[in-house]
Point group: C2
Chain length 416, copies 2
C-alpha cells in the first residue's frame, strides 16, 4: 500500500502533492513523498526539498496544514534536509494571506478554549514553557538568560552585548532615575530587574508566575548583593498592588490573552496613576491574525500576538499617552539566529535532557520564528507611554542614541 502511494507513478499522490503545493502559493521548494520524485519536477533551484514519509502524513497536511506540519516534523515523519530556516521563510513568504481552512480554525478555537488565561489557566500555560529547567535554557541563551528580543546597536554585535544593549534601551526609554521604584510584570529569570537596580539605581518589584524562574531570580539577586533593591514576587500580574514610578513588561503581553487587556490596563493605571510612565515590549502583527496553532499546541499555550491597534486597547481606555513605538522585528530574527545556532550546537544535550521529539519541536519553533520575523509575519513592538498628567516627557529621542551618562538635561517639564 505504502509502496503504491509513494511511487512516483501514483496519480493520487501526485494530485494531492500538486493541491498542497498550489495552496501554499507555489513557493520555490519541492515536496517528496517516500522515495518518490519531488514535486514540482521542473524546478532545479528549489531552496529545499521537504520529505514526507507517506500518505497518512500527507493527509494530515491536507486536513490541517500547520498542525500537520508541526507534528510531522516533531516526530520525524516530515523532514527538511538542508536549510530549515530558508525553507520556512520561502514557504511563509509565498503563503496566501487568506484565512486558514475550517479545520485549522476549529482546532485553533478548541485550543483557545482549552488554554484560556484565567488565573489558573495562565499558571498552567506559563509553567508549560517557563518551568522547563533553567539548565535547558542555559544551553542556548546568553549568559544572563534573557529570553526576549535583543537590541543590536550594530548589526554585528554579539548576543551578550545585544541583550545588555536591549536592557539599556528599555531603561533609557523609561528615563529611569536613581531611587525610582519600578514594577515589572513577567520578569523571566530576573535579568532586567537586576540590571535596572545595578546600573540605574532603581528599586524594583518584579512579578512572575513561573516558580522555577522566580527561584533562579532570587538566587541571582542574593549572589549579586541586590536583595535590598530587587524583590521577586511569585504571583500573577493581576495581583500587583502599590504605587510605582514606572511599569515595565518585556515579553508578557503575548501570554495574557486579549480578553485580559482591559484588566492589564487597569493594573497599570492603579500602579502608576496619571503621573507615571511605562513600557510594553511584545510580539505583534501587522494586522489581526490568529497565532500559529501548532506553536500554541506545543510551545506557547495561550499565546496571542496582537496588532498594534489591538495592543493599544491596554492603554487607550486609561487615557495613557503613547510617546514612542519602535518595531524591532529584524532584531528578533537576529536574536533567534543566535539561539538556533547555539541550540544546534547543544543538540545532543537537549536530546539527552528530554528526547528527540522535544528537540525537533524546539528546532522547528526557533527556525520558524526566525523565518516569521524576517518575512514580517511577526513584529516586535516596544511602546513607551505615560500617564495623562506625566510631567516627564523627553524632548526628543536623541538621548537614546548618545552615550552621555547624565541625561537629566534632556528632560523638560511638559507644563511650565
Amino acid at each position: 500500500m505504502t509502496g503504491l502511494q509513494t511511487s512516483p507513478h501514483c496519480d493520487v499522490t501526485r494530485w494531492w502533492l500538486k493541491k498542497i503545493y498550489d495552496s501554499m502559493g507555489a513557493p520555490n521548494i519541492r515536496i517528496a513523498v517516500g522515495d518518490g520524485e519531488p514535486y514540482p519536477t521542473d524546478t532545479d533551484d528549489a531552496v529545499a526539498t521537504v520529505r514526507i514519509d507517506g500518505w497518512r502524513t500527507l493527509a494530515s497536511l491536507v486536513l490541517n496544514p500547520e498542525i500537520g506540519f508541526g507534528e510531522g516534523y516533531r516526530d520525524g515523519r516530515i523532514d527538511v534536509p538542508g536549510d530549515l530556516v530558508q525553507f520556512l521563510q520561502t514557504t511563509i513568504a509565498s503563503m496566501p494571506a487568506s484565512a486558514p481552512g475550517w479545520c485549522a480554525r476549529l482546532s485553533s478555537r478548541w485550543l483557545y478554549w482549552l488554554q484560556a488565561n484565567t488565573r489558573r489557566g495562565s499558571a498552567r500555560n506559563i509553567r508549560h514553557h517557563y518551568d522547563l529547567s533553567a539548565d535547558f535554557y542555559k544551553l542556548w541563551l546568553d549568559a544572563k538568560l534573557v529570553y526576549t528580543c535583543a537590541y543590536f546597536p550594530e548589526a554585528n554585535a554579539t548576543l551578550e552585548r545585544a541583550q545588555i544593549a536591549k536592557m539599556d534601551h528599555v531603561c533609557r526609554k523609561l528615563q529611569l532615575q536613581p531611587g525610582e521604584h519600578v514594577v515589572e510584570a513577567g520578569c523571566g529569570w530576573g535579568a532586567l530587574a537586576l540590571h535596572m537596580a545595578r546600573h540605574y539605581g532603581a528599586k524594583v518589584t518584579a512579578f512572575n508566575i513561573s516558580h522555577e524562574q522566580i527561584l533562579v531570580a532570587r538566587d541571582r539577586a542574593k549572589r549579586e548583593g541586590l536583595e535590598k533593591f530587587v524583590e521577586f514576587v511569585e504571583d500573577d500580574y493581576r495581583n500587583i498592588s502599590g504605587h510605582y514610578d514606572a511599569f515595565v513588561s518585556v515579553g508578557m503581553l503575548e501570554h495574557i490573552g486579549r480578553h485580559n487587556y482591559e484588566t492589564l490596563g487597569q493594573v497599570i493605571h492603579r500602579t502608576i496613576g496619571e503621573e507615571g510612565r511605562g513600557l510594553l515590549h511584545f510580539i505583534g502583527r501587522n494586522r489581526q491574525h490568529a497565532f500559529s496553532p501548532w506553536i500554541r499546541k506545543r510551545i506557547f499555550p495561550g499565546a496571542f500576538a496582537p496588532s498594534l491597534a489591538q495592543s493599544l486597547e491596554v492603554l487607550e481606555s486609561w487615557n495613557f499617552s503613547v510617546l514612542d513605538v519602535e518595531n524591532l522585528r529584524l532584531h528578533y530574527a537576529r536574536t533567534l539566529e543566535f539561539w538556533l545556532e547555539r541550540f544546534e550546537r547543544a543538540w545532543d544535550s537537549v536530546v539527552n535532557m528530554y528526547d528527540l521529539e522535544f528537540a525537533r519541536a524546539w528546532r522547528l519553533y526557533l527556525a520558524g520564528s526566525i523565518a516569521a520575523f524576517r518575512v514580517g509575519n511577526l513584529q516586535l513592538f516596544q511602546i513607551v507611554f505615560a500617564g495623562a498628567n506625566s510631567r516627564q516627557l523627553p524632548w526628543t529621542r536623541a538621548h537614546l542614541y548618545t552615550d552621555e551618562g547624565d541625561e537629566k538635561d534632556l528632560w523638560i517639564r511638559a507644563i511650565s
Copy 2:
C-alpha cells in the same frame, strides 16, 4: 434688567456662576459677570479672571460651554484680560473627562453632518481654511510657510530652523534616496515637496485641493527652478494614481474624516504597493474623543483627531508594517507659541485684513491649541510604515540623530 442680573448681590447670577465653575472642575481661575465681583471670592492667586458681559452670554455657556465660550470670546462678549494661554491651560487641565452635555453633542453632530468629507464637502471644508490669502499666513508663519508642527532638535531652536529640521526629520524617517518618486497628499504651500527635491534628490508629485495654496506652490517651484522635479496637482487625494516609492502626508489626516480612513489606506496601497514606505503626520488624541465643536465651526470644518488605534485603521487592513511612532506634542505647543507671538505682533494687520472678530477667533484657536498640546488634550503623531514586503527597513533609528550625510550603510535587507 442687566444691572440687576450682573449685580454682585444677584443670587441667580451667583448660583449660575457657581454651577458653571463647578462643572469646569473648579479650576484656579475666576469668573465675573458685568462689573460684578468675580467668583470664587476666596481666591487670591487665580491664574486669570474671565469677564462675561451679561446674563445672555452666561446662559450660552450653560447651554453649550464650548461653542458659547468660543463665540462669546470671538465677538468680545467674553474677555480674558492677561494670559489667555495660561487661562485655557488651567481650564482644560481641570475639566472633567466626562462627555459634554446633550446640547454640545447635538450641535457637534449637526456640524458633523453639515461638514461631511464627501469630495465636494472636503473641498468646501478645506477652502474655508486654506484658501485664506497666503498674505494672512505670511504674517505669522515661518519664511517657508510651513503650517504644521515643527521639530526642535534643541528646545531653544528658532522656528525657521525647527521647520527645516522637521522636514529633514520626515525625509530621514522615510530614508529618501536620490531619484526616488514620492507622492505627497495635502502639500500646503509646497515647502516639504520642494525640500525633498532640493535636498534629497527626490521627484515629487504633490496633491492639494486648496486652489490658493497650489498657485503659490507652483510659483515657488518655478522661482526655485524645481518645476522638473516637483509637480503640484490641484486634486483630491482620492484621485492619486500611479506608482511611487514613498507616500507622505503631513497634517492631512485630521481633515479627511474617519469614514475615509479605509479609502486613504486603499489609496496608499495602490500607490506604494507591498514594497514602498510611508509617513503619516497628524494631530491625534490619547483616546477617542470628539473634536472641539467650536474649532470645527469657526476654524477647521470637518476636522477629527483620531486616537492612535483609530489612525491605524488606515494601515492595518492593508497589512502595512508600522516601523516607528513618535509623539511630538510638546513640539507642537512650542510651534504654536511662535505662531501666536507673531500673530499678536501682526494684530493690527490681521484686523485690517479681515476684522476684529476674525482676529479674536484666530487668537483663541492658537492659544487654545497651545494649551491643549501642553496639557495633553491633543497629541501629534508621526507614523512611519512600510509595505509588507519592503526590503528597506532601517536597522536602528540612530541615523535620525546623527549628521552623517551618507546613510546607506545603515540600511539592511530584511531578507538576505
